[in-house]
């Protein structure tokens, strides 16, 4: 490539690994010579890396951290032990051969026993990790159920019905909102948005600009429910759903589809 890539997204496409052949080589050869584009590529890699946060959450087994810490300790201990063992070997002389003949079968037996124990230990580790993972999953489900119960039971939780704006998509949505807890539950249905659009739910505060609660893209008109956290202490005047460009916007820009006053 003689000049800089003309489109900023070329760096992102390279970072996500979609480019191939000449397109890929052109970026690589240019970045190797251009400090400014090397920096742009580093930024694109950062943007693409944020997609990792889109992966479903999986807690690592507790044993991973234990194994990691053991690994770094054993390496440190290993370095300290190298010298004494080398010294012992140097001093072996005549006895080394005799001892080797006696100890070889013992060493083989010990190695086999160690191998068996290691495998057994690994199997038990895996079982333990699975049990812990199951327990964590159940704990999360329990936490979610508790959060729903707290939200619904709290005296200061308000329930607001959002009605469709005439001429816009049909739907019926209820939100349950607790200002102090900073939690909101959505329940209802709405017609799917056009392909290049998304719905976005907003808390319209008594003062200030609307606060985004979430972007959603229902594929069907079936009833859905979800719960989310919103910044605490936002006194709501109303709740609204707007139609926005796919992925949502930092501030409402599209037409209102559903709305409901908080009082």
């Amino acid at each position: 490539m003689n000049g800089h890539p003309t489109r900023e997204e070329d760096f992102d496409l390279y970072a996500i690994g979609a480019l191939e052949g000449e397109e890929k080589r052109a970026i690589e050869s240019h970045v190797a010579e251009c400090a400014a584009c090397s920096r742009r590529l580093a930024e694109a890699q950062g943007r693409i890396a944020t997609l990792a946060w889109g992966a479903p959450r999986v807690e690592p087994s507790l044993t991973v951290k234990e194994r990691l810490m053991s690994q770094i300790r054993s390496k440190a201990d290993g370095r300290a032990l190298i010298s004494p063992s080398v010294e012992a070997e140097r001093g072996g002389g005549f006895f080394r051969g005799w001892w080797a003949a006696v100890l070889a079968p013992v060493a083989v037996a010990l190695a086999l026993a160690a191998s068996f124990l290691w495998r057994e230990n690994a199997r038990l580790d895996r079982q333990l990790a699975e049990l812990r993972a199951n327990m964590q999953d159940q704990q999360k489900q329990l936490d979610y159920a508790r959060s729903v119960a707290h939200l619904l039971e709290a005296r200061d939780t308000v329930t607001v019905s959002l009605a469709p704006i005439p001429g816009m998509a049909n739907g019926a949505v209820k939100v349950m909102y607790n200002e102090k807890m900073g939690m909101l539950m959505y329940e209802g249905w709405i017609e799917p948005p056009p392909e290049d659009k998304s719905y976005q739910l907003w808390v319209v505060p008594k003062e200030g600009t609307p606060v985004s609660v979430g972007v959603f893209n229902p594929a069907t008109s079936d009833t859905a429910h979800w719960m989310t956290r919103v910044p605490g202490g936002v006194a709501a005047k109303a709740f609204a759903v707007t139609l926005e460009p796919a992925g949502g916007m930092p501030r409402p820009t599209g037409p209102m589809v559903l709305v409901g006053p908080a009082t």
Binding site: E8, E9, D12, L13, I16, G17, A18, L19, E20, R39, A42, E43, Q45, G46, R47, I48, A49, T50, L51, A52, W53, G54, A55, P56, R57, V58, E59, P60, S61, V64, K65, R67, L68, M69, Q71, I72, R73, A76, R126, A133, E195, D196, S198, G214, V215, F216, N217, A219, T228, R229, P245, A246, G247, G248, M249, P250
Partner: protein, 180 residues
């Protein structure tokens, strides 16, 4: 007071085990999630997870704290390793060193910041049209190039290129750091 990533790296260079444990607590779950999503094999994912943090312990002195982001480095290296394993390839050492200077547009040193980003990324991905989202996921989580995505989906190569570029433009717009 919560130590910054840079401060923890300094302590890891000095072989402070507690600093490594703190970084693991901060980013282990993130890395585990992305590795499991790519490999769909928790045991294999956890082997890479342990290996990457061990690499961080061993080579922390080479980490460019003034330019690179720790979670950025972890994610990029983790993804490269997982995709290489998926494709039975050996990851290139040269490529790994370059990832030392991944610049993340967010400060993710607190759990709250990570939770907020998680919500934004999920929302941004869910907000993409179905085909665009599928193209992004095939590229990011399965390491596919344009032509491999076209072969998988049966769509023309040009369509796939346009779709992925549009998706990236949308994601870039929607995942910009919010200015105060």
């Amino acid at each position: 007071m919560r130590a910054s990533d840079a401060a923890l790296i300094e302590r890891i260079v000095a072989k402070d085990e507690a600093a490594l444990a703190a970084l693991y607590d901060r980013y282990g779950r993130l890395l585990s999630s992305v590795l499991c999503r790519i490999l769909r094999d928790k045991q294999a994912a956890e082997e890479i997870l342990q290996d990457i943090f061990y690499q961080l312990w061993s080579t922390a002195a080479q980490f460019d704290r003034s330019r690179g982001s720790v979670p950025g480095w972890l994610v990029v290296i983790g993804r490269n390793r997982a995709i290489s394993l998926l494709r039975r390839q050996v990851p290139s050492q040269g490529e790994e060193l370059q990832e030392n200077t991944v610049v993340l547009p967010f400060n993710l040193e607190s759990a709250v910041a990570q939770e907020q980003l998680l919500g934004r990324v999920k929302g941004a991905l869910e907000g993409l049209p179905k085909e665009q989202r599928a193209a992004v996921e095939l590229a990011y989580f399965e390491g596919m190039t344009h032509s491999e995505i076209a072969a998988r989906t049966g769509d023309p190569l040009g369509t796939v290129k346009t779709r992925l570029r549009s998706a990236i433009e949308t994601l870039k717009r929607n995942l910009q750091p919010e200015t105060a």
